[in-house]
């Protein structure tokens, strides 16, 4: 499958790109607002993968629109405040494409990190509102600590909760998620259940900050 990571130069995009390239045969395309930045990062990822024995992996780096045009699945791996603009920019390229939204809105105050729930109900819902009507939107990968995800020497043993209203698209994303070693995909139901998933991310950060020896946390549901 061809997977475009819009904002694939950022931390969560890097982690997903490296993991999929390391663990699966999917074709990875890095998108960025600037083609040169995307190309540079793609080359950096190729170099890292080659150092791990993947001499045959080729990762393209393109401007977001071109990356989206080539993909079966587009992951909008951008911060919440860039999400709508990023989707608007690639909307014409989303025919027959599944759009995946991993973004979470957070704010920090003196006590810790808190979920900043948008009026639309969730950041994932914001993505659905911005996407063309016939593009299925799936929420996934909200709770993955980017640092550990991008460190291919680190084992994961995490769950990711997948939500969406299109069953086929959700199944596709669950398969992609489970292609990553140590990641289990769990069905969270319809897209309207996204807020509680997004709210878990600030909790993970708060717990990591207050407990010695715990950092880059994910969760396992058991």
């Amino acid at each position: 499958m061809d997977i475009a990571l819009l904002g694939g130069t950022g931390d969560i995009g890097q982690g997903l790109a490296l993991r999929w390239a390391d663990d699966t045969n999917h074709t990875i395309i890095i998108g960025s607002r600037k083609a040169q930045k995307a190309a540079n990062k793609a080359e950096e990822y190729e170099t890292e993968l080659a150092s791990r024995g993947h001499d045959d992996v080729s990762i393209a780096g393109l401007v977001n629109e071109d990356a989206a045009a080539r993909a079966d699945v587009v992951v909008a791996a951008v911060p919440a405040y860039h999400l709508t603009d990023t989707i608007d920019a690639v909307a014409d390229e989303l025919d027959d494409t599944t759009l995946v939204a991993p973004a979470v809105g957070m704010q920090r105050d003196e006590d810790g990190f808190h979920y900043n729930r948008p009026g639309a109900g969730s950041v994932t819902q914001l993505a659905a509102n911005a996407a063309p009507d016939d593009t299925p939107v799936v929420g996934a990968f909200h709770n993955l600590a980017a640092g550990r995800l991008a460190n291919l020497d680190a084992d994961l043993n995490w769950d990711t909760i997948v939500v969406g209203d299109d069953t086929d698209a959700k199944d596709t994303v669950c398969e992609l998620a489970e292609g990553i070693e140590g990641l289990r995909a769990l069905d969270g139901g319809p897209l309207a259940n996204a807020a509680e998933i997004e709210g878990l991310t600030p909790l993970l950060i708060n717990v990591a900050r207050h407990n010695d020896g715990l950092h880059d946390l994910g969760v396992k549901f058991q």
Copy 2:
């Protein structure tokens, strides 16, 4: 330590009572709005514990006020909509007492369960607002599936996140939590971080509803 479980006839109270009685030497006191109901449940728990070889365990069942008066730690194991009334009723008995709030507010719609965040910020904050000023309030045990907790044949392997503004009280509750076999207490920071913990409970229920073979879920942060 003497632990009173207000609403200890309900499901989460039952689970905590049985686990502490089974795994520790703490004295357990069951509270209810009706003394007879508390006494009946306490006897039921004693019978179950005796069947597991704890012939020496004595559990008192008292009206909530009397249960609180005897305790070092009071757990308000009541639903969110009874929380303020329950704390008001025992307020005069909370001298030198740590008050623990495990309640979560949820609502259910056609999509699933959702966190119903109170205007005060969290249900745990509602408990703090209702408690006397000199009673430290600690949030804990929000994310424990009551069914599995109360089934002493079931292993847990769960985390519980503990929040509060009084360090000594929080340490006490962490120790109580870790007295339960298979339960790890993690520091979530100040009380103001409670909402994201409470929001995890509806997510656990949604995940259990949508994934075959998963039920009575808790989480492990890793």
